[in-house]
């Protein structure tokens, strides 16, 4: 008697029977293959139409802006005539503001290099991949560590008088501490309480970079002194 053998070739198309992708199973979720891809739509036209619309909106906004704002053009470059202050483009003014507090090696080389290395390493840290809240287990111990690190940093910054870094640091630290003591379960405070440490570090970094850049761009005048954007010098 010939048995009818079933020959299978290739992969079945049923991902639940024959998973091909190594899935990432996070804690607090079941290990079953979760069909979280949801419904799919055809790229043509659904994605392409949306992209075309946002592209057009941006182009129109830029054209309108280009009609009313003119690219700057100053006098011919003159190596003998140093403007005061001489400023880099806005995206480097955060660094230039740092130069005001730290020696060139620290502000211009060390800090940017460290930031770059940290950025590249973000996906490879692999701690707390599930994004568990900072104020989860052992919250009081963590508060002590975070408070000690923050205070140490603030003292260091106070020594060099770097108050444009102190300000955003204090601001983010205040939110951090408030979220520890808060009992809120909804609203923005409720969601702050669920944020992981990585969220806090990045938010602190962005707040600081933003503050340094805005101050460097709008509030610094001759000799890197404090000025108001509307023109009056501070005393």
């Amino acid at each position: 008697m010939m048995e009818k053998t079933k020959i299978e070739s290739g992969f079945s198309s049923d991902a639940k029977k024959e998973p091909r992708r190594i899935v990432f199973i996070t804690r607090n979720t079941s290990a079953k293959v979760k069909d979280d891809r949801g419904p799919e739509l055809m790229t043509y036209p659904h994605l392409l139409v949306r992209e075309a619309i946002v592209f057009e909106v941006l182009i129109i906004a830029m054209v309108v802006l280009a009609l009313f704002w003119d690219a700057p053009l100053e006098q011919l470059a003159n190596p003998l005539l140093t403007p005061n202050p001489a400023k880099a483009p806005w995206y480097f003014l955060g660094l230039q503001e740092l130069l005001h507090y730290f020696p060139p090696f620290v502000a211009g080389i060390l800090i940017p290099t460290l930031v770059l290395v940290a950025l590249i390493m973000i996906p490879y840290f692999h701690v707390n991949v599930e994004g568990k809240p900072l104020w989860g287990e052992k919250a009081s111990k963590r508060l002590a560590v975070v408070a000690a690190v923050t205070l140490g940093l603030l003292i260091l910054l106070a020594v060099v008088d770097a108050w444009t870094i102190i300000l955003p640091t204090v601001f983010v630290a205040a939110l951090l501490v408030a979220s520890y003591f808060s009992k809120a379960t909804s609203g923005w405070m409720g969601s702050l309480r669920l944020k992981p440490l990585s969220w806090w570090v990045m938010t602190w970094f962005i707040a600081t970079a933003l503050c340094l850049t805005v101050v460097g761009t709008f509030f610094r005048g001759p000799g890197w002194s404090w000025v108001w954007p509307w023109g009056t010098h501070a005393v």
Binding site: P39, Y44, F55, A71, A77, K87, G108, P123
Partner: protein
């Protein structure tokens, strides 16, 4: 009127000429719609289907796509500007004056290039931070994040090398300030600065070097890496969607 126009368009799409150009008839079935994407060189890096969730505005705010749009606009306006520009001192500055006073729409051209450049830096930063907050760097997207960091650097260098080209006071001193910092590098600082500027001061050699970097080397690198970046988004299984996306929030 609208219907006759529509009918004419539909007819056009069934002609042999149309088919010979697009390699398909009207994209009205899912099969022809798939062909419309993977059968088109300029779209083939897109997936044929996208998850509904990743189409929601919050999934990306179109920040990556808009960065790419700005890159394209910069290439187009940049090539047009090249018709009027000489990378020499002080000719470069005179070319800026010509763009303002002589060339038709020269001001508009320069404005668009300048606005797109600043906006691209801004949007690439926003894109990076947004990807971070959504956890878009998590496996299997790790390496695409690293490619992204390199793209950020290239974007900054593109913008910075372009900043010198008008050869006015603003350009000259911004680059002088920036490249002075390079000398703070231990041991090799002044050598690196010398190589970057082609001399000890920001002069004609620096202008030429920045120009070549700005119009050839960096755009080619950016184009290459943007290609890899997009290809990886697709190969890594599309945008990161979170279970939170179900409730329609965040």
């Amino acid at each position: 009127m609208a219907t006759t126009f529509h009918a004419a368009l539909e007819n056009l799409r069934t002609t042999r000429v149309w088919k010979s150009i697009f390699r398909r008839g009207p994209a009205i079935t899912n099969r022809t719609r798939s062909v419309a994407v993977f059968g088109n060189l300029f779209l083939h890096w897109l997936p044929v289907k996208v998850r509904e969730k990743s189409l929601r505005v919050r999934a990306a705010y179109y920040l990556g796509s808009l960065s790419f749009l700005l890159f394209l606009l910069l290439v187009i306006t940049g090539v047009l500007l090249m018709f009027y520009y000489h990378p020499a001192a002080p000719n470069a500055y005179r070319d800026m004056k010509d763009l303002r006073f002589v060339v038709s729409n020269g001001v508009f051209l320069r404005n668009m290039h300048r606005i797109a450049a600043h906006l691209m830096v801004l949007l690439v930063f926003c894109h990076m931070f947004h990807v971070f907050y959504r956890g878009g760097y998590k496996p299997p997207h790790e390496f695409n994040w690293v490619i992204g960091v390199v793209l950020l650097l290239i974007t900054l260098f593109l913008s910075y090398t372009g900043y010198l080209l008008p050869w006015d006071q603003l350009a000259f001193w911004a680059v002088t300030v920036g490249t002075n910092i390079v000398s703070a590098m231990p041991v090799i600082g002044s050598k690196v600065r010398f190589v970057a500027l082609g001399g000890n001061i920001v002069g004609e050699n620096a202008l030429l070097r920045f120009y070549v970097l700005h119009v050839v080397i960096l755009p080619l690198l950016a184009f290459l890496l943007i290609g890899v970046h997009f290809w990886r988004v697709q190969k890594d299984g599309g945008l990161t969607v979170r279970s939170k996306d179900d409730d329609g929030k965040n």
